[in-house]
């Protein structure tokens, strides 16, 4: 899938995986691709994001806040009022699925993290942007354009919340992608 990526395009995806791991999200979404792009300072995307005043530290906080899923303990007391003994439920699930099955966070896959459907969509659109801009390879800039083109995803929402002018960012990336005049 990534054979057509330039070095900075590839780096941004590798870094996206690291960003997801850092947040313990277990999947690569458009928001992690965005963080990967921001971390790839050498590419057109990283340059454009920096020029738009977007700091990776700030973006990380925003992504973490967007995706935060509070992992609260189950309310044993309230369940008891319904006649449900949480300890019994816990015992039966642990018997089937192992210790802590009912209480552990969503599993953290080892190895490669899977791409979420909307991240795949962004990468497909990145390819289309590359074709449209007559590039034979997919660079970080095309990945950013793909994310932006996808419209409603967490990455775009994070950028909008940060006060980014999406249209202006898009134009800036395209300018940086074109061979120096």
């Amino acid at each position: 899938m990534f054979e057509r990526f330039t070095q900075d395009g590839r780096n941004s995806v590798i870094l996206a995986q690291e960003e997801s791991r850092r947040l313990r999200h277990g999947f690569i979404g458009p928001e992690h691709l965005l963080l990967g792009l921001a971390a790839t300072t050498a590419g057109a995307a990283g340059e454009a994001l920096a020029a738009a005043g977007l700091q990776i530290s700030d973006l990380r906080l925003r992504v973490a806040a967007k995706d935060a899923e509070p992992d609260e303990p189950l309310d044993a007391e309230a369940l008891a009022t319904l006649g449900i003994d949480l300890d019994v439920v816990r015992r039966t699930t642990e018997a089937a699925f192992g210790p802590g099955a009912l209480d552990r966070r969503r599993g953290m896959p080892r190895g490669h993290l899977p791409f979420a459907p909307d991240a795949k969509k962004s990468l497909e659109l990145a390819l289309r942007e590359a074709v449209r801009l007559k590039s034979r390879e997919i660079a970080s800039g095309h990945v950013l354009l793909g994310i932006l083109r996808a419209g409603d995803n967490t990455a775009v929402r994070v950028l909008a919340d940060a006060g980014t002018d999406i249209q202006q960012l898009r134009e800036d990336v395209i300018r940086r992608l074109s061979p120096a005049a």
Partner: protein
């Protein structure tokens, strides 16, 4: 102890706070169990369609909710 009566009392009880808290606790528990069971079904090679039939929801709904977690 009749659990059905207890459930009806708490879930439709006079005190909204107690009732709502009970409903939420039940929903949280249901979500955890659903996650475990869907992951287990996938690990056993079940299709999203099969899982959806058993959960009584559409294939799209179950896929949208659970596919993102990724396959292990």
């Amino acid at each position: 102890m009749n659990e059905g009566v207890q459930l009806a009392e708490a879930a439709s009880g006079q005190d909204p706070g107690n009732g709502l808290r009970a409903v939420r606790a039940l929903r949280d528990l249901t979500e955890r169990l659903e996650t475990l069971q869907v992951d287990n079904a996938r690990a056993h090679g079940w299709s999203w369609q099969e899982i959806a039939v058993f959960l009584g929801v559409s294939k799209q709904a179950v896929h949208k909710k659970h596919a993102r977690r990724g396959r292990r």
